[in-house]
């Protein structure tokens, strides 16, 4: 592999890792508040559809992205009502969210666009080149969302680790009853965390239809939401670890494309398996000692 190819690999790892980074950072915020959102996959799918719809209607990817975030937060609100309001089991509610998103995006797509064979396309975020067009600058010719995702990493870190809000959020995730006794409003914190998580997962989904590709396909999130869940475990519930995880998975997907392009004689289907097998391998080695927030996934009534 030449040096240039390495830069190209880094560039595409960044691009492919961006939807995962958004979703995983959102999931981090939610999990730190003690809410496990299995529904990220559905939220991403909803973001991808709403982003596509918004952009198709207005011709602007920025408006599309806003629509992606708004629709995702709507779905997040459903989760918040069920998990915080009804104190529902988080795994079951999240699973319902995934199924709901699959159904709603499928029905809405047919309702808006009919049953056309041709793939509809929309304008997308164009690459913003930082610096010149030297080969080693390839990683810095990316659409706006990629830079935004990278900027979010220190932001999330500062908020979680260095602010009162972050401290309260982590308290809610570690010991909700103790936090409540200190006057922290556990329910409100969790609703906020779920909505932020949904917003970010929705933007991650929007990246799929507005940056990563220029169209919407039913079920296009293709398990990325679940991979984002795994990245949070891999990153040990820390923003920098999550950045590393997202880049690793981005690189795995990019490498899979490069192997295909290079004509390596491995079945395409086996290459497609790579990210999922990698997730399992990573979990097998990362889960043993990882320290999840103590109240993660627990119902208040327990």
């Amino acid at each position: 592999m030449t040096v240039d190819a390495v830069f190209v690999l880094v560039a595409s790892a960044l691009a492919l890792g961006t939807p995962l980074l958004f979703a995983a950072l959102g999931e981090l915020v939610s999990e730190r508040a003690g809410v496990l959102n299995i529904g990220v996959e559905g939220v991403m799918l909803t973001g991808a559809f709403a982003g596509f719809l918004g952009c198709w209607t207005t011709g602007s990817p920025v408006v599309g992205m806003a629509a992606a975030g708004a629709a995702a937060m709507l779905l997040g609100l459903v989760l918040a009502i069920w998990v915080v309001g009804f104190d529902a089991d988080q795994v079951v509610a999240g699973a319902a969210l995934n199924i709901l998103a699959l159904g709603v995006t499928g029905v809405a797509y047919r309702a808006v666009f009919g049953v056309t064979g041709a793939a509809l396309t929309v304008p997308t975020f164009q690459p913003l080149a930082i610096g010149g067009d030297m080969p080693w600058l390839a990683p810095f010719r990316q659409p706006l969302p990629v830079y935004a995702a990278l900027a979010l990493v220190p932001l999330v870190w500062v908020v979680l680790a260095r602010t009162r809000l972050g401290l309260a959020l982590r308290a809610v995730g570690e010991a909700p009853d103790a936090a409540a006794s200190l006057g922290i409003r556990v329910g409100a914190m969790r609703v906020g965390a779920i909505l932020v998580a949904a917003l970010l997962a929705g933007i991650g989904g929007g990246c799929l239809s507005l940056a990563y590709s220029n169209t919407f396909v039913e079920g296009m999130s293709a398990g990325r939401g679940f991979i984002a869940l795994a990245i949070v475990v891999f990153g040990r519930w820390r923003p920098l670890g999550i950045l590393a995880g997202a880049l690793l998975f981005g690189a795995a997907s990019a490498g899979q494309f490069q192997l295909q392009a290079a004509g390596v004689a491995v079945s395409y289907h086996l290459l497609l398996m790579l990210p999922y097998v990698l997730t399992l391998a990573v979990l097998a080695f990362a889960s043993g000692t990882a320290t999840a927030p103590a109240a993660l996934g627990r119902r208040r009534a327990e």
């Binding site: 309702a111 679940f226 097998a284």
Partner: protein, 352 residues
């Protein structure tokens, strides 16, 4: 009191179904379809005539088997979201096995083919179970990842080693006739009888055997089970193996009874629907039979609805999701508190 509890166990799921159908109809209305017309074609497509009924039963069969699989796992406190992958591995193994054992005496072919499916499903579930017990990996994520891997493996198989000898389409050769389950002219195959026989069997194991007791104890309180010396890890492993085996059987039955060959997109998401089936059944095997029939009818009807009312069949997913959400509301401790406050016992306690 007992009667009231039993009545509640029946009324709550029914109310959830009604609420779900109403909520889904509103979504149809929002999408610009006529919900009454759509639901009418759905009911006709599910129950309207002999063919519709046969189709409903055909669609019920895999849901019944995977529903039992999910119910047993959930009851044991293991979140097996992987029935989809286990079903696919069962179908894959059954297809491969059928071509290997097809020449053996006929009485052996079907049992061996189905056994291969059971074994493959159990092995696939065992991966997640071992990761959970030994490496503390969330079985939710592991089983979902294994679903994706299984789908790619099926894709690989039908493009590669199992591709039909004509090599034109990504599908396997038809199964040898000896490996096919007997079926009526409507396509209704023996699998549904097999699935129905497994309902009392699952009930017996869950509620009348020592293993089932350990499963339920583990599902209710793994810590207490550990302290009582009942090895919850082993109970979870066993539950996952049985659960995976049932889902694998569903795949083997589909390929030997219905499709007769393996292809890409072999499963229409039955493994995921199974979650709704099991939850609607309140994780009870007898309930699974009823809720599998409900979702089987929905699946059969939705095809008809797509053809004649133009509402995409994926609409069924909305019904599934709203059923689950409605059940979660019914189970909310918030409602339970309200119920305790208004129960006669609470009132007399207050008066005292």
């Amino acid at each position: 009191m007992r009667i009231a509890a039993r009545l509640r166990a029946l009324v709550v799921p029914m109310a959830a179904c009604i609420a779900a159908v109403l909520a889904s109809s509103m979504i149809l209305l929002a999408a610009g379809a006529d919900p009454l017309h759509a639901l009418g074609t759905l009911v006709a497509g599910a129950l309207g005539d002999r063919f519709a009924l046969a189709d409903t039963l055909i669609k019920t069969c895999p849901l019944l088997l995977t529903g039992l699989a999910v119910a047993i796992a959930f009851r044991s406190g293991v979140w097996n979201i992987g029935a989809e992958g286990q079903l696919l591995m069962g179908a894959l193994a059954a297809t491969a096995a059928a071509s290997l054992v097809g020449a053996l005496p006929a009485a052996l072919v079907v049992p061996l083919t189905l056994a291969a499916g059971v074994a493959a499903g159990a092995c696939w579930a065992a991966i997640a179970a071992v990761l959970k017990v030994r490496r503390n990996v969330s079985e939710v994520i592991a089983t979902i990842m294994l679903n994706f891997v299984a789908a790619r493996l099926v894709g690989f198989a039908v493009h590669g080693p199992l591709m039909e000898s004509a090599a034109r389409y990504p599908q396997s050769d038809p199964l040898p006739a000896a490996a096919r389950l007997p079926a009526t002219t409507d396509g209704l195959h023996m699998g549904i009888l097999l699935a129905l026989l497994l309902v009392p069997a699952a009930w017996f194991v869950l509620y009348r055997s020592q293993l089932g007791f350990r499963w339920r104890a583990t599902g209710d309180n793994p810590e207490a089970t550990r302290i009582a010396g009942l090895a919850p890890d082993h109970a979870m492993l066993a539950a996952m193996l049985v659960s995976g085996g049932l889902a694998g059987l569903a795949g083997a039955v589909e390929v030997t009874g219905l499709t007769g060959r393996l292809f890409e997109q072999f499963s229409g998401g039955q493994g995921y629907t199974a979650i709704a089936v099991a939850l609607l059944a309140r994780l009870h095997p007898v309930g699974v039979a009823a809720s599998a029939l409900f979702f089987g009818a929905l699946a059969a009807g939705s095809g008809a609805m797509q053809r004649s009312a133009g509402v995409p069949a994926v609409f069924v997913a909305i019904v599934q999701a709203t059923v689950i959400l409605a059940l979660l509301v019914a189970d909310s401790p918030w409602l339970a508190r309200a119920r305790i406050k208004t129960s006669p016992a609470a009132r007399s306690a207050e008066a005292a």
